[in-house]
C-alpha cells in the first residue's frame, strides 16, 4: 500500500473526514473536519468521494515524504506549500513523483489547510468514521495528532478524476466569512433587548485558547437577567452559548454534547466551515438571518458542491 511519511507534523495535524454523527445518546460528538467545505473540495479535485479522510493542518503545516507517486490537493487556507522547493498552488490537483517531499508552511490567511490525496488516508474507523477526536484520544491515527515518524497509508482510488478545475467564482462563493450569519438560539428570548442589540452590533475577537471543542470570544459581555446557568440540555453544532461572565463561546466539532449555558444564537449550516477557518485574534461579527434565508444559503452551497457543472469549468 502507498504511504505518506511524516517528517515533521506541524502544529496540530490530524486525520479527519466528515465525522461520526448519531452517537449523541452516548455523549460522543461528531468531530470531523473543522472546514468540511475545503475537505470536500480537496477530495473532489483528486477524484475521491467527498468524505474521504485527509489531513487537517492547523496554522503551521508539516513536511511529508511520498515514497511512491501520488496525486494531491491542498485546500482551505493558503499555507504556502512547496514540493521539493517548487511552489504548489492551492485548490489544484498536483502530481507527486516517488521520493518527493511536500513542505507545508505557515498560514497566510485562515486557520486550517487540508491535504487530500487520491485514494484517501486509511485508518481503522471508530464508530464508522476516520476522524480524530482529540479530547478522548479516539479515531484517526492512534487517536492523536500526528508526530514525526508516523506512516500514513493511502487507499486505492475508487472514482475517476474530474476533467476540469473549480471556477474562481465557485471558490469565491465557498470562501470563509468573518461576518457569521446566525439564527436565534433556543434561549434567545431570555436575553433583554439591549443584550441582543449589543451581541449583533459588537465586534468579537477569537481568544487564544480556542480549539476544535469551542471558540472563546472576547468583547462586549452579554448579560442576561436570569443569570447564565439553566437545566442542562443537548447543544447543537455552532451554538453560541453565553457563559456566566457574559462572554460567548461557539461550540464546535469536538463539542461537549450537552451543556447548561443559555444559547443566544446558532451559526447557520452554510457558515459553519467559516468558523473552522477562524484564527486566534481574528475579529468577527454576527448577522441575524431568518430560517428561510439559512435554508436557501445552504441549498445554494450544496448545489454548488454537488454539481460538477457549476463547480468545475
Amino acid at each position: 500500500m502507498n504511504e505518506i511519511r511524516v517528517q515533521s507534523p506541524g502544529l496540530l495535524t490530524t486525520v479527519q473526514d466528515l465525522g461520526r454523527e448519531g452517537f449523541g445518546p452516548l455523549g460522543v460528538s461528531a468531530s470531523g473536519a473543522a472546514d468540511p467545505i475545503s475537505l470536500r473540495l480537496g477530495n473532489l479535485l483528486v477524484g475521491n468521494p467527498q468524505g474521504a479522510a485527509a489531513l487537517e493542518m492547523t496554522l503551521l503545516g508539516g513536511t511529508f515524504l511520498f515514497p511512491q507517486s501520488a496525486l494531491i490537493a491542498l485546500t482551505g487556507s493558503d499555507f504556502g506549500a512547496a514540493l521539493d522547493g517548487q511552489g504548489v498552488a492551492s485548490a489544484t490537483a498536483t502530481n507527486v513523483s516517488p521520493g518527493q517531499t511536500l513542505h507545508v508552511g505557515s498560514t497566510r490567511s485562515g486557520a486550517r489547510c487540508y491535504l487530500c490525496v487520491r485514494g484517501g488516508i486509511v485508518v481503522k474507523p471508530f464508530l464508522g468514521s476516520a476522524s480524530t477526536h482529540l479530547l478522548t484520544g479516539l479515531g484517526g491515527y492512534e487517536g492523536r495528532a500526528l508526530r514525526k515518524g508516523d506512516v500514513l497509508r493511502i487507499g486505492p482510488p475508487v472514482a475517476p478524476l474530474p476533467e476540469n478545475r473549480p471556477t474562481a467564482t465557485a471558490i469565491e462563493q465557498l470562501a470563509p466569512r468573518k461576518l457569521l450569519r446566525v439564527t436565534p438560539g433556543p434561549q434567545n428570548d431570555s436575553f433583554p433587548q439591549p443584550a441582543l442589540h449589543a451581541f449583533y452590533t459588537s465586534t468579537y475577537r477569537v481568544a487564544e485558547d480556542s480549539n476544535r471543542m469551542g471558540l472563546r470570544l472576547e468583547g462586549h459581555p452579554i448579560m442576561r437577567e436570569a443569570g447564565g446557568e439553566m437545566i442542562t440540555e443537548g447543544v447543537s453544532l455552532g451554538a453560541i452559548q453565553i457563559t456566566v461572565g457574559g462572554l460567548p463561546i461557539i461550540l464546535f466539532v469536538e463539542q461537549q454534547t450537552t451543556g447548561g449555558y443559555a444559547k443566544i444564537a446558532n451559526v447557520i449550516s452554510a457558515d459553519l466551515h467559516s468558523v473552522g477557518q477562524l484564527r486566534p485574534r481574528d475579529e468577527i461579527r454576527f448577522e441575524p438571518v431568518d430560517w428561510e434565508t439559512a435554508r436557501s444559503l445552504l441549498l445554494a452551497q450544496e448545489k454548488l458542491l454537488g454539481s460538477e457543472d457549476t463547480l468545475f469549468k
Binding site: G27, L135, S236, L237, S269, W291
Partner: protein, 232 residues
C-alpha cells in the same frame, strides 16, 4: 406503563438543523421517563433525515439533515410519536455496581468534603455508597453519566479552581450531582475516590458501561482490590 406526558410538550428551534423538545422545565422522574420513551421510539422507528439525538434531563435535541427535512415537517411527525408515548414500555432499570476505592490518592478531596460536612471520612463513604443513583442521560463527554440522587447531606459546591487534569475513573461530587470521569479531562468536581473499571470502552461493542435509565450503586473496595481489578 404510565400516562401521557404530564405537561404539554414544547418545541424550540435550536439551529437550522436541530429542534429541541421539552417535557416541562423541571428535573423530574416523569420528564426523564418521557425523554427516555421518545428516545426509545425514535431508535426503534427512525425518522428519515434525522441524524442524531441528544437526550437530557427534560429535553431531547433532535438533529436532522436540513437538505432532507425541516422543522415544521419534523414537528408534525414528532407529535405523532409523542402521542404514542404511553404505549412505550421502558425496560426494567439495570442495576450496575461500580467498585470505588475511596480516599488517599484515589480521592484527594475526601478529607476536605468530610470536614466541610462535619463528618468522618468513613461516614462520607458510607453515605455515598449507600444510595442508589439514576442515570438521567449520558452527555458532555463520551460515556459521562449525569447521576441523580446524591444524599442531601453530601451536597457540596465544586472546587473554586478546577484541576487541570482529573484521572479517568475518578468519582466526584459537585452540587447535588455525582459522577465518574470516563476520560481524563480538566474538572472542578470534588474527588472522593476512583474506580479501576473502564466507564467508556472504545474496544467493546457496548461502548459505555452505563446507559440512560440505569440504577447505579458504588461499592467501596480496598487499594489491594483496586490493583487486582485494574490488572483484570
Amino acid at each position: 406503563m404510565s400516562a401521557a406526558p404530564a405537561e404539554p410538550v414544547q418545541f424550540k428551534r435550536a439551529s437550522d438543523r436541530s429542534l429541541l423538545i421539552y417535557f416541562g422545565h423541571k428535573i423530574t422522574r416523569q420528564a426523564h421517563e418521557d425523554v427516555r420513551r421518545l428516545l426509545c421510539l425514535l431508535e426503534l422507528e427512525p425518522i428519515p433525515g434525522v441524524r442524531n439525538l441528544h437526550p437530557a434531563y427534560c429535553s431531547l435535541l433532535v438533529t436532522f439533515d436540513p437538505l432532507q427535512s425541516h422543522h415544521d415537517r419534523l414537528e408534525k411527525i414528532l407529535l405523532q410519536y409523542i402521542g404514542r408515548l404511553d404505549k412505550v414500555a421502558l425496560p426494567e432499570p439495570r442495576e450496575v455496581e461500580i467498585p470505588v476505592c475511596y480516599g488517599g490518592d484515589y480521592g484527594p478531596d475526601l478529607i476536605d468534603v468530610s470536614s466541610l460536612h462535619g463528618m468522618t471520612p468513613e461516614q462520607v463513604i458510607a453515605l455515598h455508597s449507600s444510595s442508589s443513583y439514576l442515570v438521567y442521560f449520558l452527555g458532555f463527554v463520551p460515556g459521562f453519566a449525569y447521576l441523580g440522587g446524591l444524599p442531601e447531606a453530601l451536597v457540596t459546591p465544586r472546587l473554586a479552581t478546577p484541576r487541570r487534569k482529573v484521572p479517568f475513573g475518578s468519582v466526584g461530587i459537585a452540587g447535588n450531582q455525582t459522577g465518574v470521569y470516563p476520560v481524563s479531562t480538566p474538572g472542578g468536581w470534588r474527588l472522593l475516590g476512583r474506580t479501576p473499571i473502564s466507564i467508556f470502552r472504545p474496544e467493546r461493542k457496548d461502548l459505555s458501561l452505563l446507559a440512560i435509565g440505569d440504577s447505579v450503586r458504588f461499592a467501596p473496595i480496598s487499594p489491594t482490590q483496586f490493583a487486582a481489578l485494574e490488572r483484570a
